[in-house]
Amino acid sequence: MMSATLMELDQRDRGGPQQPLLVVRNLRKHFPIRSGILGRVSAHVRAVDNVSFTVRKGETLGIVGESGCGKSTVARLLMRLINPDAGEQIFDGDAVGEHGGISVADLRRQVQMVFQDSASSLNPRMPVQNSIAFGPIAFGTPRVEAVGQARELLTRVGLNPALFGGRYPHELSGGQKQRINIARALAMQPRMIILDEAVSALDKSVEAQVLNLLQALKRSFNLTYVFISHDLGVVRWISDRVMVMYLGEIVEIGPADTIYTGARHPYTRALLASRPALDPDQRREEAPVSGDPPNPINPPSGCRFHTRCPHAEPVCASRAPSLGAEGEQAHRAACHMQDPASGHSQAIAA
């Protein structure tokens, strides 16, 4: 649980614990596809479409969904590594990149990111303690002080600075490199860390170590996480709330345990039922859905899942179901069966 005293200590906390750390409304990103010798835009990948959600202070929001559904694009938009086509983003009450709000540079200090590919995000020619100190030095911390802090952070992520501080990335295992990346993110004293498949490339035995570390760091540094992964087991363990994406849209969002035990969207149910059983006597006899996720260039009309959904009816192809407004309910699903007025024959009663 978050301690109130820690919160009060953080000078940067402006709105108090009740104000969400991050609010995203109607975020959209369509990537142009160019073709022909003139490179004319012939189509768009609808990577992120009208996505709205909040991240509360001190929580971990998990994002799941299959390859290409837009998880990393959301992450890059949150960091403003790419610019959205539309939508607004509010960080602790301040609109990002707007007059009177918070600047993108300031946002990028308060929000850090850790990626899957631990090797390529570290400078191969720099001892890892210098990599960790690099950001703070760039922002004006004296060199000696920054390196001292880097060595302290090495201890915090479970690496002995005397042994590891002077090493180069190629002298480290995947798990150790990922610990360095986490230390490097922490060096900026962020309030939020976006972890995009941060443990996915690790061996199972090392993955569990890094997950425990992330939980411990979150408590001691009073952090908020956005945790992206395709591993549904890992997301359940680490997340307070979970957001499920399909073809650029949010199909379901809610408290982690509710999603895993009482999923409402047919896609979420299919995704959960697709997990191998871990018990040879409970083998899956039939796949929950057939086919592959469709192409995000021309996503299906109406509900984007209707081409694979076992409950699809004509209304599903003609009208897009709504996720409902935030604040109405903690657990929401964008499916016509959740809307008494949709005309779907299996819709819940009003």
Binding site: L232, S274, A277, L278
Partner: protein, 325 residues
């Protein structure tokens, strides 16, 4: 007793370069019965793919030294000449790779590629090969199979490409299929489809399958038997149920305990401390000893011999009793 289809005895593979020599596979033994599915489980670099490649004699001959015996369908794979090798690869054994793009020529339509393989191996016409390719596409449940035969590899989605790859591997009705992480790159909803498909085809065709994975759940879905590899050795083998209910090697036990499924969220996960060993500098005794909660001084110096604590189970651990009560 049924004749084993494949017998691997004391297989070791060393990679030699000017600077160093790495033993990637170390004294591996197993037999495969006809119709059996065995999963090879283990962390990155533990020697799973190298073992598979050794079975197919696909390792670079100049840089690898293979010792020990490999017999498939009664024949000594090490002693095969080029003709015998080609015959074995086409008819007795075939392999599915993790990245299906590597198996297909990007500029030839997939249907023609399968037809080509079939016509070469069976000595039939290209048209007959195309017909067989169509049958195979239907067998692996590729929708609109006729149309898909004319697709280029890049025009197929990941799931369809993996199915086409399976069709190619099955085209000559192998007795032994080597599947190296065939579903790891697939999405969850597609992976389960391909697993169920492979299981069905395996049963219908009665073939043996060695299925490489690092996912315990996948092993539980498909395996009859599991072989767990660590640092080039098979440290434990056994029937899938026994092994998953009661792992005997401390590494297998640690792997099961640290796999995240439905553990309580307010507690730390169980972990295996430390990191997998550097294959260039393996410890002299049990390679798992530096990370093992049960290790004693004997483990640091002695390579554990295989023991058979229960029927069908073999474990390389000094702490495992030879006879379980």
């Amino acid at each position: 007793m049924t004749e084993p289809l494949a017998e691997v005895s004391n297989l070791s593979v060393d990679f030699v370069t000017r600077e160093s020599s790495v033993r990637a596979v170390n004294d591996v033994n197993f037999t495969m019965l006809p119709g059996e599915v065995m999963c090879m489980l283990g962390e990155s670099g533990s020697g799973k793919s190298v073992t598979m490649r050794a079975l197919m004699r696909l390792l670079p001959p100049k840089r690898s030294v293979i010792s020990g015996g490999i017999r498939i369908a009664g024949q000594d794979v090490q002693a095969m000449d080029a003709t015998a090798l080609r015959r074995m690869r086409g008819s007795t054994v075939s392999m599915i790779f993790q990245e299906p793009m590597t198996a297909f020529d990007p500029v030839v339509r997939v249907g023609d590629q399968i037809a080509e393989v079939v016509s070469v191996h069976r000595g039939v016409s290209h048209a007959a090969g195309r017909q067989r390719a169509l049958d195979l596409f239907e067998l692996v449940r590729i929708p609109s199979a006729q149309r898909r035969l004319d697709a280029y590899p890049h025009e197929l989605s990941g799931g369809l490409r993996q199915r086409a790859m399976i069709a190619l591997a099955l085209s000559c009705e192998p007795k032994l299929l080597l599947a190296d992480e065939p579903t790891t790159a697939l999405d969850a909803t597609v992976q389960i489809q391909v697993l169920i498909l492979l299981r069905r085809l395996q049963q219908e065709m009665g073939m043996s399958v060695i299925f490489v994975t690092h996912d315990l759940g996948v092993a539980a879905e498909i395996a009859d038997r599991v072989a767990v590899m660590y640092a080039g050795r098979v440290v434990e083998t056994g029937p899938v149920r026994d092994l998953m209910r009661r792992p005997l090697h401390p590494y297998t036990a640690g792997l099961l305990a640290s796999t995240v499924h439905d553990q309580p969220r307010d507690q730390d996960l169980e972990t295996i401390p430390g990191t997998p060993p550097d294959m260039r500098h393996l410890p002299p005794g049990c390679a798992f000893a530096p990370r093992c909660p049960r290790a004693g001084t004997d483990c640091i110096t002695t390579v554990p011999p295989p023991v058979t604590p229960a029927p069908g189970r073999i474990v390389r651990c000094l702490r495992v009793e030879a006879e379980l009560v």
